[in-house]
């Protein structure tokens, strides 16, 4: 396998937009292309993540339109990927393999989503389509519901009184909003308190509004190329050191999902390929779609023992400046979660952290970073380890 690097990166501000899906992705893509000091016609293939364009904008089959919008020649293959909230990371993994294998030298990869105009009932319905259509959806399961049941299971399994766990979960939201307040591209750039979380309305017991990430519009894109070419394109190439992907069935097949086997397996692949362990990661962007989700992910990735992840919040171990800074971008919670773009936005943040470009939210001296993206109810998990 050849060494693969990320040259330029691009990301739109997350939040509500009047741009179309095509325009939104193109904004991020042009930034990534320009940042790589290449022209669109240097792109040999396009890998784009988009989850709900069919329902959001009546737009299926978006990939070819994007290739055309960017002015790519007719021989450029353009392919849409879908893996629920892990959509863009699935696309990145595929793009990585095409470059690593030697088939292409330079490709464009990323994702886009536009949800906010849909309204909560339809958005909730279409998000729920990422759970099992026969054995979960007819029960009225929603995504807050998936993680609400996880929180109850976690509290019961580890013998943590629910009010104690809820306060620690609230600290995830407080931390990520604090980080988001330092990110000019974040959907929410406002700090909150534990009381903000605990006084917000209940979405799915025990998750309250501020335990949940928002619906978001946004796009992010990366140019992937060979290590050799990247060194000529940009001053600070960031290398893909390891990558992993795991799969699982519905929650009822996973049973106790406080330990997500697909995530443990995916992280293990990525660590092994990179030749590093959890203790070597300087900064991590992980899938905090809900506050409890960050706690469980931090354990599955090996940063904390199972059952101990919530205590770390009280000690500030995951804050910027802590032992393992998690979600310095603000995470899905504050930065926003345009589901098809999220994995690329996580990679965008890690690339900029490793280049030392993150200003007030910079993790000092970060050399190795990791992303973690969860699709559906852990049915698709992708991890990426990046380094300089």
């Amino acid at each position: 396998m050849r060494k693969v690097a990320i040259a330029g990166v691009g990301m739109t501000k997350f939040g509500k937009t009047d741009k179309s899906l095509v325009e939104l992705f193109t904004e991020a893509a042009m930034e990534a292309i320009n940042g790589s000091n290449i022209r669109p016609r240097d792109i040999q293939a396009l890998f784009v993540g988009n989850c709900l364009g069919d329902f959001a904008e009546g737009q299926a089959n978006i990939a070819g339109f994007l290739a055309s919008e960017l002015g790519l020649p007719p021989w450029t293959p353009a392919t849409r990927f879908e893996g629920a909230c892990a959509t863009a990371s699935v696309a990145i993994r595929d793009a990585f393999m095409w470059v690593a294998s030697g088939f292409y030298d330079t490709v464009l990869v990323g994702g886009v989503e536009k949800i906010l105009h849909m309204g909560t009932p339809l958005a909730t319905r279409t998000f729920a389509m990422a759970s099992d259509s026969k054995y979960e959806e007819f029960c009225g399961l929603t995504f807050p519901g998936v993680f609400a049941m996880l929180a109850h299971m976690y509290a019961h399994k580890y013998g943590i009184p629910l009010p104690v766990l809820k306060e620690r979960m609230a600290l995830v939201a407080v931390k990520n909003h604090k980080n988001g307040a330092m990110n000019p591209l974040a959907q929410f750039q406002k700090e909150i308190t534990v009381d903000t979380v605990l006084n917000s309305f209940m979405v799915a017991d025990p998750l309250q509004l501020f335990d949940c990430c928002p619906f978001s519009d946004g796009a992010a894109a990366l140019v992937l190329t060979t290590g050799e070419k990247a060194a000529k394109m940009v001053d600070k190439p960031v290398y893909i050191l390891g990558i992993g992907q795991g799969s699982a069935g519905s929650l009822i097949r996973q049973k106790d999902y406080t330990v997500m086997q697909s995530r443990v397996a995916s992280a293990r692949q990525a660590y092994r390929m990179a030749g590093v362990g959890p203790e070597d990661i300087d900064v991590c962007e992980l899938h905090d779609c809900f506050t409890i989700a960050e706690i469980v992910a931090s354990e599955c990735l090996g940063f904390f023992e199972f059952g101990k992840g919530s205590e770390a919040l009280e000690n500030g171990e995951t804050a910027i400046g802590g032992r393992i800074p998690i979600n310095p971008s603000g995470g899905l919670k504050a930065k926003g979660h345009p589901i098809g773009a999220t994995g690329a936005a996580q990679a965008y943040e890690i690339v900029r952290q490793l280049r030392g470009e993150c200003g007030r939210r910079q993790v000092d001296g970060a050399k190795i970073g990791m992303t973690d993206t969860l699709g559906g109810d852990a049915s698709t998990i992708v991890n990426l380890i990046l380094g300089v």
């Binding site: 909560t120 009932p121 339809l122 909730t124 319905r125 729920a128 389509m129 259509s133 026969k134 054995y135 979960e136 959806e137 007819f138 029960c139 009225g140 399961l141 929603t142 807050p144 519901g145 609400a148 049941m149 996880l150 109850h152 299971m153 509290a155 019961h156 629910l162 309305f201 209940m202 979405v203 799915a204 017991d205 025990p206 998750l207 069935g249 519905s250 929650l251 009822i252 097949r253 049973k255 106790d256």
Partner: protein
């Protein structure tokens, strides 16, 4: 010709008649429910259709207060571990959602069902398990 001993539609139709069906593996002895093409334990395809006891224990739950299009909140969603081992998801209808608390975990339940008329994007009628608290 089908590789399936029990399809989702067979499973739903049996639930409507009050029978919870599953698969038993001839190779490892594990039970699988709802059905798959293979054993959920070992992946073997030597499975046969069996009726399950329809009894289980609640493992976790939530009260959905923001419902998807087509449904009305609040309602309880729960997961139960069946006596034979598999977990299934269902609703709890005989508990007031505003009184649902952590003491639901560990409650013994019997599996009943409810029928959902076809909605947009459901590919026909749905049947969902309903957990009735027995102790």
């Amino acid at each position: 010709m089908s590789f399936y001993k029990l399809t989702h539609r067979d499973y739903f139709e049996a639930l409507k008649e009050g029978r919870l069906m599953g698969l038993k593996c001839r190779e490892c002895g594990a039970y699988t429910a709802p059905p798959k093409v293979c054993c959920d334990g070992c992946g073997g395809t030597g499975v046969e259709t069996v009726q399950l006891s329809g009894k289980g224990v609640i493992k976790t739950f939530t009260v959905i207060r923001v419902a998807p299009e087509g449904l009305e909140a609040p309602y309880i969603v729960a997961m139960a571990e069946l006596e034979e081992g598999p977990w299934i998801m269902g609703n709890i209808l005989d508990v007031d959602p505003d009184k649902a608390g952590m003491d639901l975990i560990g409650k013994k339940v019997a599996v009943d069902h409810k029928v959902l008329p076809p909605l947009n994007y459901t590919s026909g009628e749905g049947v969902a398990p309903v957990f009735k608290i027995i102790s």
